[in-house]
Structures are given as C-alpha cells and as structure tokens.
Symmetry: C2
Amino acid sequence: MASSISTFTTRLSEAARIVEAGLQALLSDKAAPGELARPSRLMDAMRYAVLGGGKRLRPFLTIEAARLMGVEGEGPLRAGCAVELLHCYSLVHDDLPSMDDDDLRRGRPTVHRAYDEATAILVGDALQTLAFEVLADPATSSDPAVRSGLVLGLARASGLGGMVGGQLLDLSAEGRYGPAELGEAEVRLLQMMKTGAILSFSVEAGAILGQADAAARRSLVEYGRALGAAFQVADDILDREATPEALGKRTGKDREKGKATLVDLLGLDGAKRECRQLVEKADAALAGFGDKAQILREAVRFVVEREV
Amino acid sequence: MASSISTFTTRLSEAARIVEAGLQALLSDKAAPGELARPSRLMDAMRYAVLGGGKRLRPFLTIEAARLMGVEGEGPLRAGCAVELLHCYSLVHDDLPSMDDDDLRRGRPTVHRAYDEATAILVGDALQTLAFEVLADPATSSDPAVRSGLVLGLARASGLGGMVGGQLLDLSAEGRYGPAELGEAEVRLLQMMKTGAILSFSVEAGAILGQADAAARRSLVEYGRALGAAFQVADDILDREATPEALGKRTGKDREKGKATLVDLLGLDGAKRECRQLVEKADAALAGFGDKAQILREAVRFVVEREV
C-alpha cells in the first residue's frame, strides 16, 4: 500500500488549513462583484459560525476524490468550501431554540447565543446561498456543465428530499408532531437523509469535477454512501460512550428525547459490527482504483475510529 | 402602441395561472430523482407557504423579459418559479417571531402560526434549496452556461450582499443592534438590497435565458432596477395610506418600529414624484426595444399603481 496513517493525518490537516484560508477569503468584508454591500454584523456572525473549528472532513473528501480523478487546485478547494458552508448553515439552524435548542457547538456558544436568533437565521440563510454561489462561479470550473452539475447535486443532497427533509423527520422522531416510534428502516432513512446525503455528495463532487465516467462515478457514490452510513453509526456510538467534555457538545440527547438510534436498535456490539461491515463495503467500492485510493480507504477508517 | 391595459392584465393572470401549476408540480409529494423521500409534513407546509396567493409578479417579469428576448415555454416558466420559491422562502423567514413577528400573510396565518417555528425555518430552508435545484436542472435550459448563469445571478441577488444582507440592515434599522438613524442613502441601499435585487434579477433572468447581448442585458438590468426601486417607494406609500384589510397584513409597521421609510424622508408628495420619475427611467431603459416591450412598460405602471 502506497500510503500510511501519518500520510493520512498530514493530508487531512493540510486540507483543513487550505480550506480554512479559502473560507476566510469567501467571508471577507469586501463585497464581491454584483453585491451591493456586506453588512458587518452579518459577516462577523458568518465568520463566527464557519471559521476556526471542525475537522473539515467534507471538503477533505471532495479534494481527495477529485485528486483520485486527476483534478487538483482551486476547483476542488472551492467545491469543498461550498459543501462546508452548506454543512455550517445546517449546524446553525439545527442549533436554534425551536429546533435542537443547543447552547454549545465545538465548545463555544452557538450562533444564536453569541449573537441573537434573527442573526442566526440569516447567517444560515446566507451560508446556504453562498454555497451555491461558490459552485456556480466560473472560478470553480471553466466548464459550465461541471458548475451546474455541482449545484444540482448539492441541492438534491441538502433539500427537502435530503438533509432538510431528514431534519424534519428527526424532529418528528421526538414525537412533537404526533406519536413516533421509529423502526430500523425509518432510522436508517432518516440518517441517510440528514447526514448521509451530504457526506456522499462530498465524494461525488470529486467525480463531477473530474468528469468521471459512469462506472467511476457510481463507485465513488457507493463509497460515499458507505462512509456516510459509517459516520452516522459511529456518531450514535460516540453519543452513547463519549463525555460532553470530549465532544464539545451535549451527549445522550437522543435518549433524553426518546429518539431511537442505531445503538438502541442493534445494541452497542451490533452497531460496532455494522461499522466494520461498512468499512469493508467502502473498501469494496474502491477496489477498481487500486493504490491511488488509499487515502479514501483510510478516511472511512478515520470516520469510524474518531473520538469527536 | 401594440398593447393595452386589458392585454396586460390578461397576460399577468395567465402567467399567474401557469406559475401556480408549475409550483404545484414542483411541490408534489412524489420524490424527484436523487431524493430519498419527501416528508409529508414538510411538503404540506411548503405548499401552504407557496400556493394559492400572490400576484406572481416576479415570475411574470421573468416570463415577459424572456419573451422579449425570443424565449418562451418551459425554461422561463421554471426560472420564474425558482424566483418565486426564493421570494416565498424570504417571506416565511421574515415573518418568524425573532424577525418581523407577523401573524398574517396574504390574509392567512403565517407558516409558523399555521404549523410551528421549526417547520417554518425548514420550509424556508428547503424552498431556497429548491429554487437553486430548479435553475440547475437541465429542464430549465439545455445550455449549462445558462443554468449556471441563472444560479449565480439568483445567489448574488439573494445572499449576504443582496436580500439577506438587506434584511439584516432592516433589523438593524429598528435599533435592535445599537442606535440607528438612517439617512436617505442608507434607506435606499437597504431597499435596493432587500427587495430591489430580486426584482431586478427577475428581469435579468429573461436576458440570461435569451442569451442577450451585453447592451440588451444592460438595458434590462437598468429597467429592472428602476422597477425594483419603484416597487419599494410604492410599498412605502401603501404602508402609509392603505388599510390592513386591503393589504391582508399589518400596516404602519415601519413607523411603529421607528424605521425611516422613503415617505418619511421625501414626504408623501415627494415619494409619489419619485415613483413617476422611476417610471420614466424604466421607459427610457426600454427605448431600444420598441413596441415589443410594451408589456414591460405597463408592468412598471402596474407596480406603482397597485393597491395591494
């Protein structure tokens, strides 16, 4: 095998570094072409929501999947930043009092706590818009078919049939819209929509940027789906086993709210076994790429073994 | 002149009819390709937010501007629906308790009143996403440069440097983030961002769909800006003169909150004079198009003379 764990962690932190710089540039106070002004309170709060935290796993996946397809540089970086902006918008809105009502995120006050609720809603709205703006900008790709393909993919993964729909199902699972006792199939659908779709798109974006053929694209989508599912099972395990101090946010929330997780449905051992199976599935999807895909193989292991 | 007021109202109501049908189709319960499921509570609330109301002025402008550029049918209809979805998202979020705290919209309970706050936030989020998805879909144009141009234009008009930025300035103008006494230039900037940018883009979208040359596009953008400004002055006049019953929402809100409007700054007569000047400016921008642009000339008159 061409790679090693230390190569992996170097690449992950290198990606986090350039993504941080890319996000900083996108969120500067200077108005971009076609913009009338950038209100300073909004920009402050957007930077607060986005900068200085997170593993930047999603952009890392986009950058590495694009590299596997032979594309490096500005395009994958910008597409990765767009996925991260979209992810950050979802965190800001999910934390709101009427949603999950969280006070802490990454160990700091959530946006509506640090600013106010109206600002947090607008921050989320503007981050979503900016994600699509970044993808549609010619700086992301000189090929407009690539740009509109990226927009379409992110929209499908994040909208009513993806992430936002999953969040609605998640709120329903608390029983707030009538009795809700979720079975295994429903928990899996909810998780696939709420977190899996965007993780899977993070990988697929690399295939779009690389104008991969249908077979390569299908393989990357399969890999992305396995990784997304593994991420969520690992998340359920962490929520059961980790301390709030280690995670920088509350744990055991799902149990408090009576929401079934895969740990409830499969048991802790069953959930860990499923994680291992998903790693194998991800490996199988990458089989055709050989050694070049070693970083992505390590990424799925990182996802299931992470401690935060 | 080739057209008449009765032609105008016929075209406006015909556009409203096909837009309503288009929006209905986009908001059906049936999952689209790439979507995992469409949660029924979310779809119900999205339809509640979007269907059965409004003059559909923005899609009308897109359809008529595209027709002027020689493009008719599915493309302009879909682009118009996208702008309307974006507009509806902004209404749902602006009405939220932490924002303008409105109970009524078009004479009916607002979305967070009819459903709940979490659902209203998600409805707005998903409507924004759907707007970009519709534009990026090949059904809107077979030319990917047109699709990504539409996405980029809508994003710039609606994001942090456009509509969302304008809403943040509007909240600031209430004095909630420190003392705020807005002068004329600031009120104009706020209005241009909050409502002008999207109205102007509604027209520009027609130029993008028609792949207009630079001069024609510039003329349509100028027309759209004048129309957007006229819309807002007329809105300020209506807010001062109309009854809540006629408007289907509260009036005099800006004064209650101590926000300066153009009527405060220019006086009622001054505001009405400005409306007339903006109509002339819009006419001047359309001069090069001759009789074919008659519907757009009537549109700006409709905007300043409307009663709701």
